[in-house]
């Protein structure tokens, strides 16, 4: 899965436009980033990467890159 696909999955979870998302985008600057978006991201990571965010992981999500980091982890495990 390339960066574009991953950003598209994040955009889908956040209900945002994929073009609006770059790795450096700050989540709290996104209008869509709220408690429901957090739940959507948890669901997306669980479904597509079998990754479960822990309470501390959730707190440390600052940029889109932080979400991407969790999406990479699982791929590394697979290979």
């Amino acid at each position: 899965m390339d960066l574009k696909d991953k950003l598209s999955l994040i955009a889908q979870a956040l209900d945002a436009e994929p073009e609006a998302l770059k790795p450096e985008t700050k989540l709290e600057e996104l209008e869509e980033w709220d408690s429901l978006a957090v739940v959507s991201v948890i669901a997306m990571l669980d479904k597509h990467f079998s990754v479960r965010l822990k309470p501390n992981d959730i707190k440390s999500l600052v940029t889109v890159e932080d979400i991407l980091a969790h999406m990479k982890e699982k791929e590394a495990e697979k290979s």
């Binding site: 209900d15 429901l36 959507s40 669901a43």
Partner: protein
């Protein structure tokens, strides 16, 4: 032993997504609330108390089923929003309904797992020869705990009462089947009304309002829910609960005609259905015009499914409740 009848009652007043969108004036428009929760409107109490909702639901059950009140020998009432600390709400309800004074009655305090636990207690009472006809009332008025400016819970919860009649005749087959239970008190603070009982009595301090990171306002007297943590909890335990219940009942997924889960919110249920691999047509959802009525959701969903012809005589249902506590329970019921 079988579930003979279910009736339910929702308060008259409704709270729609349009109402909420107007109040919040933020990026939470009506469509977004629906997309994220699967809820369009909820019924909320004004001055009605738990005993009043319980009595109305029970009266509806007696009138619809024609079952005589004087044959009820046990009344169980599940709530976390009782009329009083004491006396027991079930005792008040016994009197207003005019149930026999020879009837046993008590409350039990559980949330989303409460209905399944109620069936388990009922099965125990009947199997132990202590009761024949049990009235199980699952009633909740959570909205009384909710701060009007806390959209994280106000969008989800509604009030409601369900009355379920379980009866047994000598020689009847037992149609309330295998159970599994679970408890993890480590999650206690993730869905809680912190103040008001003995651990933290209400005071000026507990009534102080605070604004959280998401802009929601609440005090310690209000309901608090950590949505992401509750979601994580359900992803952890619900698939395993389904698996162990099937194993205990020696059934496969294909043997189940309808899965009726606690109607928490549509997003959570869709994720769980997907993860467990339950076919869409076997998974019942009905919270759109009711919201999450806590321990009342499962019997309310069963009643709607019955009325829609989704449950037929002889069908095997899997009921699973999960939430506040953390507490969870599942059981197989044959209709």
């Amino acid at each position: 032993m079988q579930i003979t009848h279910i009736s339910y009652l929702l308060p008259e007043k409704t709270l729609t997504n349009d109402d909420l969108a107007i109040e919040y004036e933020s990026n939470w428009n009506s469509k977004k609330i629906y997309k994220k929760t699967g809820i369009k409107s909820r019924h909320i109490t004004a001055t009605e108390t738990t005993s009043q909702l319980a009595v109305q639901a029970a009266e509806k059950l007696f009138s619809e089923s024609g079952f005589p009140k004087d044959k009820i020998d046990f009344l169980l009432l599940c709530t976390q929003s009782p009329d009083y600390f004491l006396p027991t709400t079930a005792c008040i309800v016994q009197d207003i309904l005019g149930l026999p004074t020879s009837c046993g009655a008590f409350d039990f305090n559980l949330g989303c797992s409460g209905f399944v636990y109620g069936l388990a207690i009922t099965k125990g009472l009947i199997a132990g020869g202590m009761a024949k006809n049990v009235l199980l009332l699952t009633v909740e008025t959570y909205t009384k705990y909710i701060h009007p400016k806390d959209k994280s819970v106000r969008t989800i919860f509604g009030d409601g009462a369900a009355a379920t009649l379980i009866t047994h005749e000598e020689g009847d087959p037992c149609k309330i089947g295998e159970f599994v239970f679970g408890t993890d008190g480590k999650g206690a603070t993730n869905l809680i009304v912190p103040a008001g009982a003995m651990a933290m009595p209400k005071s000026e301090e507990t009534a102080k309002e605070r604004v959280d990171e998401q802009g929601n306002v609440r005090s310690l007297n209000n309901l608090y829910m950590n949505g992401p943590e509750i979601f994580n909890f359900t992803l952890d335990i619900v698939p395993d609960t389904v698996k162990s219940l099937l194993a205990r009942a020696k059934l496969s997924m294909d043997d189940i005609d309808l899965f009726v889960f606690h109607q928490a919110n549509k997003f959570m249920l869709d994720s769980l259905r997907d993860k467990i691999g339950i076919p869409d047509e076997k998974f019942y959802l009905n919270m759109e015009d009711k919201g999450n009525t806590v321990s009342a959701t499962i019997p309310i969903a069963m009643k709607d499914a019955l009325d829609e012809g989704r449950i037929r005589r002889g069908d095997k249902l899997m009921l699973v409740g999960f939430g506040v506590g953390y507490s969870w329970a599942g059981c197989i019921v044959e209709w």
